[in-house]
Structure formats: C-alpha cells, structure tokens
C-alpha cells in the first residue's frame, strides 16, 4: 500500500507536490527537485505533458523518482493515447511499482506547443478511472482476462471554486462511482466560496487535497485564469500583489492564508509551485502545519503492492 493511500485511510494529512519532467533528456534538475520534496511531501505528482507541451513521459518520470526513494503519483491524460495505450501504460506502471495515479482528461492539443498533433480523447477522465478499476478486477476494457491484476490508488481532479457547483458535484460523483479514491483540486484563491463548496463536497466521503499555487505576480495571476481555465483569482488579491514591496512574501502570505482558512475541510494539500518549490516548507509553517510530514512517518516507499 502506498504512503499516500495509507495516510488518507488513517485520516492523516497528506502533502503532495507537482513536478514536471524535463523537456529533453537531462533529468538532474527534475530528480533534485524530487529529492528536495522528500523534506516536506509524502508523494510527488509527475505531470503528463501539462498544457499539451511535449516533455518526457510521466511514466518515465515516476520510475526515476521511485529509484530515488520518492513516492510518485502518475498523472495520466486521455489526450495522446487511446484505450489500448492507456491500459498498457497502467499495467506497466504497476509493474514498475507505481500505484498512485491521477486520471485526467487533459488539455486540448490546440493549446500546447504541438497544435498540429491529433487530439485523441478515446476515453475521458471518468472512463479512464473505470478502465483502471476494470484492470483491478482482472479484465481489460474489452473483457479479456489478465495475467495478474494490478492495484492502484486512483485519484481525480476537481475544482473547489466552480462556476456551477451542482454540476461539479455531479462530475465528482461520477468520478467516484468510476473508481476515484481521492481528489486533488485546482488552485483555490477564494477561500470563502471554496469553503461553502467544500461543505457539500465533503459529504461525498472521498478525501480532497487542496490545490495551492503561488502567484508570482498579478500578471501571472491573470494568465493563470486563461491557462488553468476555471481558476478564479479575486481582484483584491491582484491588488495585493501589485502593491506588495516583496511579491514572494506576499504570495507566500496569500497561500498560507488560503490554506489556514480551508485546512479543516480538506485532508491534505497539493502544491503546484511552478518553480517556487522552496517556498512550500514556509507555506506549511505559515499555515500552522509542520513541514516535517515525512520525518514524522518516514515509511519506506512501497513497490509492488
């Protein structure tokens, strides 16, 4: 059983961080970020060519992290692979000792650096979750028997500040019935609205990790709304960043406040730091959460089952 799964099952707080594999073959920086993450996080997500920008595969990234003793979460999107390739990658992941997965639909290819590429979307996030559940039961999507059934800890994405809360809840319910066992949310900036949504989403009975992004500038915050669509940054926050003497400090303060306001309603935090990973320990401290998460339960990263 993975540390992430174990902690969430025991209702212990879980900290995760998102890491991007390199665009190229040099993995030194990626691995050193991973090694640093052991100081504050229980597991690291490896993105699957986020924003449809071509990079090294998430599967390879996860295997590299695992070798360095970091528990990986394999992000899998439906953008580039049909159901044959997706099932095949999931079986391969399990064989390599990767059990945590985050099933995503994925951005459209038109948004990335290869707009000429064919968008696949043979499955979508709920169907990918149900494909993973199907493999766990020992059969593939076509009903064929498997030689050995894998086990996964299956995650999905959610938006805690949705434009249409009723619809978001339906989507979450659909993902849960397809097999989702935990959620990692998009970044939240309006703690008030997220609070009222979390009170409803909490009743679904599946642990939710709150998404945290450090806003690097007011400009980045505005871009975020168009890049990570569905993210909403309040005007008041933009003003704080614009008038701040030290933007890093202000950004850290904003993140810590949001975390503190919502900590009691979530079961963990998911950092998407975009290069500012070194701020994470401070953000945890600022929110009253010790950044020694790993030290307190330095369990061995499991491989296999």
């Amino acid at each position: 059983m993975t540390t992430l799964r174990q902690r969430l099952a025991r209702r212990e707080y879980a900290i995760t961080v998102e890491l991007q594999p390199p665009k190229g073959s040099d993995v030194k920086r990626f691995i050193s970020k991973g090694v640093e993450s052991k100081g504050y996080a229980h597991a690291a997500n490896v993105t699957d060519q986020q924003g449809s920008v071509m990079r090294m595969s998430s599967l390879a990234g996860c295997a590299l992290l695992l070798r360095s003793g970091i528990e990986p979460i394999l992000q899998v999107t439906c953008r580039d692979r049909n159901r044959i390739a997706l099932q095949s990658d999931l079986l391969g992941a399990h064989a390599l000792g990767i059990e945590n997965i985050l099933a995503l639909t994925g951005d459209h290819t038109a948004l990335g650096d290869h707009p000429q590429a064919r968008p696949v979307f043979d499955l979508d996030a709920p169907l990918l979750l149900s494909a993973a559940s199907c493999l766990e039961r020992g059969t593939d999507l076509a009903g064929g028997d498997l030689q050995g059934a894998p086990t996964f800890f299956k995650g999905a994405a959610c938006n805690l500040d949705p434009q249409d809360p009723e619809l978001e809840l339906f989507k979450m319910e659909k993902k849960i019935s397809a097999g989702a066992q935990f959620f990692q949310s998009q970044a939240v900036f309006d703690a008030g609205r997220a609070r009222s949504f979390l009170k409803r989403a909490g009743r679904l009975g599946v642990p939710i990790l709150l998404g945290v992004v450090f806003l690097k500038s007011a400009g980045m915050a505005r871009r975020l709304e168009s890049i990570a669509r569905g993210t909403r940054v309040p005007e008041s926050m933009l003003r704080r960043l614009e008038t701040a003497a030290d933007v890093r400090r202000e950004s850290l303060a904003i993140a810590s406040e949001t975390v503190r306001d919502l900590a009691d309603l979530v079961q963990g935090l998911h950092f998407m730091a975009f290069g500012w990973e070194e701020l994470i320990p401070e953000a945890l401290q600022g929110a009253g959460l010790a950044p020694t998460a790993r030290a307190e339960s330095d369990e061995e990263v499991t491989s296999g089952d």
């Binding site: 159901r83 639909t105 951005d107 459209h108 038109a110 948004l111 968008p119 979307f121 043979d122 499955l123 979508d124 996030a125 709920p126 169907l127 149900s130 999507l141 994405a157 938006n159 434009q163 249409d164 009723e166 619809l167 339906f170 989507k171 319910e173 659909k174 019935s177 397809a178 998009q186 669509r229 569905g230």
Partner: protein, 228 residues
C-alpha cells in the same frame, strides 16, 4: 445516393432510452431518399409496431419532408401541439442532423430511433458546422439532443472538461461555445441534470465502420472494386 446513412438503433438501447416514457410522439423523415430505407411511411409503420411491442403508446405521428429543416418540423409540431404536450418523449426516425434540429424545437426528451454511420469520405462540410459525426451509436437520447461528439472539441462523453468557462471552449473561447455547457443548460431546464451522473460508456468505434452489406453494395456500384 442518400446524404446520410442510417440503421435502426439496437432494440435494447431504444428500450432503455424510452424507460419511464410511456407516451411517445413519433416524427419520421421523408428526406434523403426516405432516410436510407429506414424512414418514410414504412419507417413510421415499423416504429409504430416496435413501440407497441415495447408497450408504449403513440400519441401522434408526423412525416416531415426534411427533418433537418426547422421550418418543415415547425409546420407539424405546431399543428400537433396538443398531442405533443401529452407525450413523454419524441422519437425521431431520422439521421443525427434531423434529431438535433427537432431537439432544438421541442422541450421534451428527444430519442433517436436510428444510428447514423459514415460510408467514409465527406464532401463540402465545414468542421465548424458539423452536427453529426456519423459515429454509428447515436447519443442524442442521453444528451438532450445535442451531440457531444461534434459539439465538444474533445468529443467527451461524460460532461464538460475543466476548460469550459462561461460556456466557452478552451480551444477558442471567442469563437467556440462549449457543447457540454449547452447540453447541461438544456438538461437543467428540463429538470434532467442528474442524468449526468450515469457513466456513458466509451465509444464503440467498430460501429463507425460501414456494414459488410454496405461495403458490398458500394463495391457493386464501382464494378466490384472496393477501392480499399
């Protein structure tokens, strides 16, 4: 040659789509050479029988010259408004284009009687206006008469992705609406939003392919050459 190729939807699928919908208004299409042999007067008779076998009541039926033309549909839908009001669903015996046009005119659940498939090769159709992908397993009965295969840039089957904001698509928010946002709006208006909780299975791409019979017919037209 007909423009759109259709075949009757499997009976179990049709029966599921008409569950808890005892009274059915049937709308047939007389276009495209009687809808590839599945429409016209004979099509209406056939579905009268099918519905009787499924234990449904036909409240009224109409044969439209071209179901894909809203003006033609309106002529009959207005004339039969009282009957339509009593119906629990509208069964449309037409291609995917016809079903979607009808669904835009009535505020009842619309059920496609046929699956529209592709003989392969398209001529003169702009992607931006495509409404039926001829996928061979019509979803319109589950998606409020708007096709997610064509109206969603990703062809998603289980609701909008995170890129849907203000009802616009992430691919080009200025020019493209989010098809799923439109489906959600229509389902919500008719109190059927919770139907979104059910998982729509992955596409069966083998149903896109033309049948052996059609391939044989096309080969015969070409003097025995299939061309593939």
């Amino acid at each position: 040659m007909p423009l759109m190729f259709t075949r009757p939807k499997p009976l179990d699928e049709l029966s599921a789509l008409l569950e808890e919908r005892p009274s059915v208004f049937v709308l047939g299409c007389n276009g495209c050479e009687n809808c590839f042999g599945n429409g016209g007067v004979e099509g209406l008779y056939r579905y009268q029988q099918t519905l009787a076998e499924l234990g449904r009541t036909v409240v009224a039926e109409a044969l439209i010259d071209l179901a894909c033309e809203a003006t033609h549909d309106r002529l009959w839908l207005d004339r039969l408004a009282p009957e339509l009001a009593r119906a629990d669903a509208v069964l449309v015996v037409a291609c995917g284009v016809g079903v979607q046009v009808v669904a835009g005119l009535v505020d009842k659940p619309v059920v496609p009687a046929l699956d529209t498939f592709s003989p392969g090769g398209r001529v003169g159709q702009a992607w931006a206006f495509e409404s039926c992908a001829e996928c061979g397993e019509c979803l319109l009965g589950l998606t409020a008469g708007i096709c997610p295969v064509t109206a969603c840039a990703k062809g998603l089957r289980n609701g909008p992705c995170g890129g849907s904001v203000d009802g616009r698509c992430e691919v080009n928010p200025e020019l493209l609406s989010c098809g799923w946002a439109r489906i959600v709006e229509r389902l919500r208006a008719s109190g059927r939003l919770d139907s979104l909780k059910a998982l729509i299975p992955a596409a069966d791409h083998s149903r896109r392919r033309p049948s052996e019979e059609l391939l044989t017919a096309i080969a015969a037209l070409r003097g025995g050459e299939s061309g593939r």
